[in-house]
Amino acid sequence: MTPRTPRAKATSASAQPSYDTESATLLPTATPIQLVDAEGNPSTAETGNLPLPDDAALVRAHELMVMGRRFNDQAGALVRQGRLAVYPSSHGQEACQVAAAMVLGDQDWLFPTYRDTVAAVSMGVDPVQILLLLAGDWHAGYDPYEFRCAPTATPLATQLVHAAGLAYAAKVKGEDKVVVAMCGDGATSEGDFHEALNFAAVFKCPVIFLIQNNEFAISVPLSRQTAAPSLAAKGVGYGMPGKRVDGNDVAALLAVMGEAADRARRGDGPTLIEAHTYRMQAHTNADDATRYRTAEEVEPWVARDPITRSEAHLRSRGLLDDAAVADLKQRAEEMAAEMRLGIGKDRDLDPAELFEHVFAKPTPQLLEQRAQLLDELAREEATK
């Protein structure tokens, strides 16, 4: 670790950040960056001068999206069967989630939300383990260190600050680590969003903030969330570049995220990325979306599906054929079967574990309480 010198005292009025330049250069493009259009053809829209990612990456992304979609479908089915209490589906948002994971290397970290299970699975988290939260077994079902994937966060935007802090730790320890921190459009209204971006920018943390703007926060449309010209435009207020990207174009996402990851790795600090996508399903199965939007509103987004688009693109370029599609489908089915098996299985839950992890060492009070519970259970058992 390189020893750090104390920060210089503020020296003069000119120690102010330079007001005169930059602002405009930090603003996002007027329209989202797109590399592949909805039909799978090279985009004629704003490309941000970014080249298409290499073929292998595009194929890999497609595979992960297909797996992700199958994951979403299977989780939904498990809810209907009563195996999961609830599931926030990311159907339609697979491109964002896959890209978030793909730009990360072996040292890098992901900070996902409850809707980002496909991103977590793309990081390698076991599909069954990540569902244990929703199955009701325990809160976080996997080891965050094993997968460099923080527990999926429910309290909105809180995880963004953690992400910045972990990136800071990596920086001061001299580790080469990039962090992707994810949130939704609604979460951008929380104070923690603001504080996270500000800390990350002030300390030039190697972190990428990825907003999946799916136009809704439960029932609340984006127009109620902000009056900003775009969510990406918020970046300038922190002195970080804001990028807008077509959230259903995995090629564009890989390119924009990849650029931001390079920037972070170079030590140039954070980037704010707004991926414009759409929440195709209700907020969760417990939600009734017909109360606040019509089928006609959802309709146009079907044609913009990220997987259809990617398949068309890859097929047109000869990177995917029927055999590969069938093979992929097969692998996805295998994963789904594992999910059904894993979640369907009866798992022994030990009530004593309730007291085990509150502290590294249970307090005398917790030991008493555990003894009380075990005694109750023993008596119950005895009277059976």
Binding site: L133, R224, A286, F355, V358
Partner: protein
Amino acid sequence: MTPMPSAGTPSPRVEKITVMQALNRAMRDAMTQDENVHILGEDVGTLGGVFRVTDGLTKEFGERCFDTPLAESGIMGFAIGMAMGGLRPIVEMQFDAFAYPAFEQIASHVAKVRNRTKGQVSLPMVIRIPYGGGIGGVEHHCDSSESYYTHTPGLTVVAPSNPADAYHLLRAAIASPDPVIVMEPKRLYWSKAEVDLSRPRPGIGKAAIVRDGTDATIVTYGQSVPVALEAAEVAKREGRDLQVVDLRTLVPFDDATVMSAVASTGRVVVVAEAQGFSSFASEVAARVGERCFHSLAAPVRRVTGFDIPYPPPKLEKHHLPTVDRILDAVDSLQWEDQ
């Protein structure tokens, strides 16, 4: 007082409604009577709230029941300003743990504005918080957070346990010149009772003896009340006659009712879902010990949640006060000394 309807001929005003409907009705009636009553929160508008407690109110009252950006501190602070500006805001926090971002606004402003300004600025606002567990909710959706608020001077805190109280306590909260926190018993939202909403009920600050009994007193509130009543039912069959006090209001505390109840039995169990350490239940136990010391035949027992973060759904049954656990506590009240 409305006269009691004669037996056999139910008054047309008697109706069977849920806690949720009662809360909804309270807001609707208040909004109809006073155009300064406004509701704000996350998804309270078109959706009618994730629990549907504000269902139909936007349809009826337009922007007077409105969705805000997703920011609880902002919602709370905005409501403070609205109240200073002459409105009577009702804030819905979506779940207990999601009120925490608003904690500074609550502790440093909501609770203090009247006092800071020597009474020159009052804040007639209501903060509705669905609290508690037992609904199979995942982490952060089942906290019993009332003790944070009962510990904060300047906050009135009510906790209804049934449709009639839900209606009347919320009406009273809206009418109050002071900020009132309504701890809504999430698990009981769908529980029904026959009520006549036109009949007055005791106001804020009054506990109710919801079951008479001579052997021991259970002091409880909110969604633990039905559990306590059930325990009393079972105890009855086992030969013990339990009195149940439904506090209804946590702050201000109804010492008069509680202490006279305790004095009448000499044995007390306090029941609440929240983790017990440093909690409102601790206060009840401490007060009873302090004020009824010589009437007590046995130590005050507490049946509360364990001192652990709220458990995952599959384990929550072990954490929540159950009939058995209450009966165990009752059993431990040193009856051998009788």
